[in-house]
Amino acid sequence: MSRSPCHTVDARIRRSTRTHARRRALEGSAWTERGVRHAGLVLLAPFFMLTSACAPASDATPLELERLVSCLRSDAPFGPTPDGVLFEITRSAFVLVQLPGARVLELDLDARDPLCVSWMLHDGLPRLREYRALARGPATVRLDLSRCPDWRSESQPLLRFAGTGQLLVTAARFVEAPGDPDSFQACSDRGVFWAPEELGHTTINFLRPTTWSASRSTWLADRLAITALGLCVVVGVGIRLARRRWRLGLALATGALFATAAHDAYFLVRMLPALELVPEPDPEARIRDHYSFAPELGPLVALARSTLGPEERVGILAQPSDWFGPEVLGFNLAPRPCVVVKPGETVFTGLAGVKPLQLEELDAIIDSNSGEPLPSGFRTVVEIDPHRSIARRL
């Protein structure tokens, strides 16, 4: 006849009467009961299951240069060269890759000037993803379309390049999406499920929903809750049969631990790739390199911080739709007085606490890819490229 966990603890307490502290420790450690040991296995299982399922897909097919050229559409001038397809980008450019039926698209790029690339589905939600800074030199960009909840078999990737300069696409590869609808849906569901979190402006309000199957609108939390409930019942009944006692608390704790651990494992797998995990002791380097969803801004902010004096009054030139750039510049240059220069206005305002300034009062102008000419009386003193520069009064 098996003995109850309670008897086990009591027996151990009786045997160990050496110190009062020892007795207290044993009384307090009801966690050592056998039922909880089994719960520990339950706790570890989701971690192994989830991490083992994260195998990257490959088998990419090369895309010939002629076919690539015929697939491309852009609002920027482009054309074939012996080395690849060359784009001339001014401030920003959209590049549509008309390649329906692709699941993954890999582009080998050679940026002649610093650019920032992001992308979305042409027929999907108007939400850019995976912002990435391209320094001068070669880089490979991999677009996994199946990670988008709005991916369809006819979807085409639309890339956005921010910045000014030349970009050479030297090679392209793609992975085809499954042909039959069921496999396609399964592939889409898998892609959305395993897609890493994409940090952006709205992440502070909500993280990406945790779907179980995006196509069927079923949710991970529902599934885990049902499984955990089943586990509670099994553990509860199991303890009842084995010990002839109800241990509802233990059963519920087991289910709760399972559900939480499984969700945490999923959270880890999804969140860790999105986080910066390497310490960077230099604050200036952090500003330069870690504006993850506006990577083109960081170098400009860092340049401005190192160039401008602490008392200089600064104006920011930006595109009218750009609210983030001026805010980031104004914040990181504070407590320097910093205002947004809007063409046609005479008095400019900035973040809270900055008194309105007129053009005559400004000592320096930062051009953040505005496309506007510098106000008269200012001359560029340092630049990242012709459209991201810092000018001082002559």
Partner: protein
């Protein structure tokens, strides 16, 4: 590195206050964490009050005076009312630091360590991404450093609260140099302080398992974890409310009145964070105050005078807020009431029309979206199965505190800015102050339930 100045000075001031109030626990890790929380909040409150009520400029002597004041109070208290040789109820004899069994708690602790590292590193490394097209909350410490307050800056101050505004600026004031990352460090240090407190407090009371599971539960709230990496202050508010609630749970368990005092102290500190901090803290504290008044009939060690003394900083904070930004900015609800009295036509549809949509929004936020992890499923199951017992045994007040926070969150989400609730913009964030205490309640309830000796059939 100058943030260490802030850490050391504020923690020292906080420890002095704890000594003066005789609320220290005599466990080093716990007291250091408590000292940082109390000192940081004290600095924010005192500088704000001196700036807006007395009209003193924010200078180095003022900052040092504020840091020195708790030491003066501690000395005065020691002279006027020497500590009696009372038995040390919170001695190290009951502490136990290693959770058992190891094979269960090693993975739990590993998860806590990994998430703590990832959150702290990301929080420190990433610069402020600013908020939206309207304002930058992380700018308020810089405004405090500049000490130039006008109508616009005071509105930002009203949104942020005194703690997030002045605490990060302490080292800037002393060194004269602004390092924008001090805002990040402040949030991250509060986050790490919470984890240290959860683990060390439970261990010092002989229940290390509860501490580690508590840290595990808090780190299982995905949106809370992400918020701790940002320079928003929602997480800071949730942390203060969570710590207050942690001591509320301890008081409910062990009935040491000093835990109740610590809980009240932290609810008071929570009222210095964000504009809604006071209301949130009041909701969390009300059941505790009711419980104290009830138990006072039988327990002479509960003194109303000391409770009122602990609550007095709230009045100071309220007076400061009103003098700095005016009644309507400090308490938007007064504006709502004034509008209601004038029968101003509402800009949004009537609440009755929104009820179903709001319910759907909360159903999504609580149970499906994953932003709060699996907490609310587990909370519902735990409450369903355990609440009858807790009600019968007179230990339902902590749950009542969580319920009041949830009710406040629902009401403010539906009545104040329903459009942001319905489009899911703010509902997840609004739940953070509920989720942290709720996860601690679940852990305390389940761990006690599991530890109970089963009744023989």
């Amino acid at each position: 590195m100058s943030f260490f100045l802030t850490l050391v000075l504020a923690s020292a001031a906080g420890l002095a206050w704890l000594r003066a109030l005789r609320l220290e626990t005599r466990t080093l890790a716990v007291d250091l964490a408590l000292g940082w929380f109390v000192g940081g909040a004290w600095f924010g409150l005192a500088v704000a009050a001196l700036r807006f009520l007395v009209g003193l400029a924010y200078t180095i002597p003022l900052a040092m005076l504020v840091i020195a004041a708790p030491f003066i109070a501690w000395g005065a208290r020691a002279l006027l009312a020497p500590r009696s040789r009372a038995p040390r109820t919170e001695s190290a004899s009951s502490s136990r630091w290693r959770p058992r069994p190891g094979w269960l708690f090693v993975p739990l602790a590993a998860y806590v360590m990994v998430m703590a590292y990832a959150t702290a590193t990301h929080g420190i490394v990433t610069p402020t991404n600013t908020d939206d097209g309207l304002r930058v909350r992380a700018l308020t410490p810089i405004l405090a450093f500049e000490d130039r307050w006008n109508g616009e800056t005071r509105q930002v101050l009203a949104l942020a609260g005194s703690l997030p505004t002045w605490t990060p600026s302490l080292a800037w004031r002393l060194t004269g140099r602004v390092d924008h990352f001090h805002v990040n460090y402040t949030v991250v240090s509060h986050f790490l302080g919470l984890l240290v407190l959860l683990v060390s407090l439970a261990a010092s009371r002989g229940f290390p398992e509860r501490g580690w599971v508590g840290a595990f539960a808090v780190l299982s709230l995905p949106l809370f974890v992400y918020h701790c990496t940002s320079t928003y202050t929602d997480a800071v508010l949730a942390i203060h409310v969570g710590i207050g609630f942690l001591f509320f749970l301890e008081y409910d368990r062990a009935r040491d009145p000093r835990d109740a005092q610590r809980a009240l102290l932290f609810f008071v500190l929570a009222s210095f964070v964000k504009r809604e901090g006071g209301t949130v803290a009041a909701c969390a504290a009300l059941p505790l105050v009711m419980l104290l008044l009830w138990r006072r009939r039988h327990d002479a060690s509960i003194r109303i005078r000391s409770l009122l003394l602990l609550l007095s900083p709230v009045l100071l904070d309220l007076a400061t807020a009103v003098s700095s930004v005016g009644m309507v900015q400090a308490f938007p609800v007064t504006g709502l009431l004034a509008n209601a009295a004038q029968a101003t036509p509402p800009s949004s549809p009537p609440v009755s029309e929104l009820r179903l949509e709001a319910a759907q929004a909360f159903h999504w936020a609580l149970l499906r979206s994953g932003n709060q992890g699996m907490l609310y499923w587990i909370l519902a199951a735990t409450a369903l199965m355990r609440l009858p017992f807790l009600v019968r045994s007179g230990r339902c007040m902590p749950f009542l505190s969580v319920a009041s926070l949830f009710a406040l969150s629902v009401m403010s989400s539906i009545w104040l800015i329903p459009q942001y609730t319905l489009d899911q913009s703010t509902v997840h964030r609004a739940l953070l102050v509920v989720s942290v205490p709720a996860s601690l309640w679940v852990v305390a309830t389940l761990s006690e339930w599991c530890s109970e000796k089963p009744a023989a059939e």
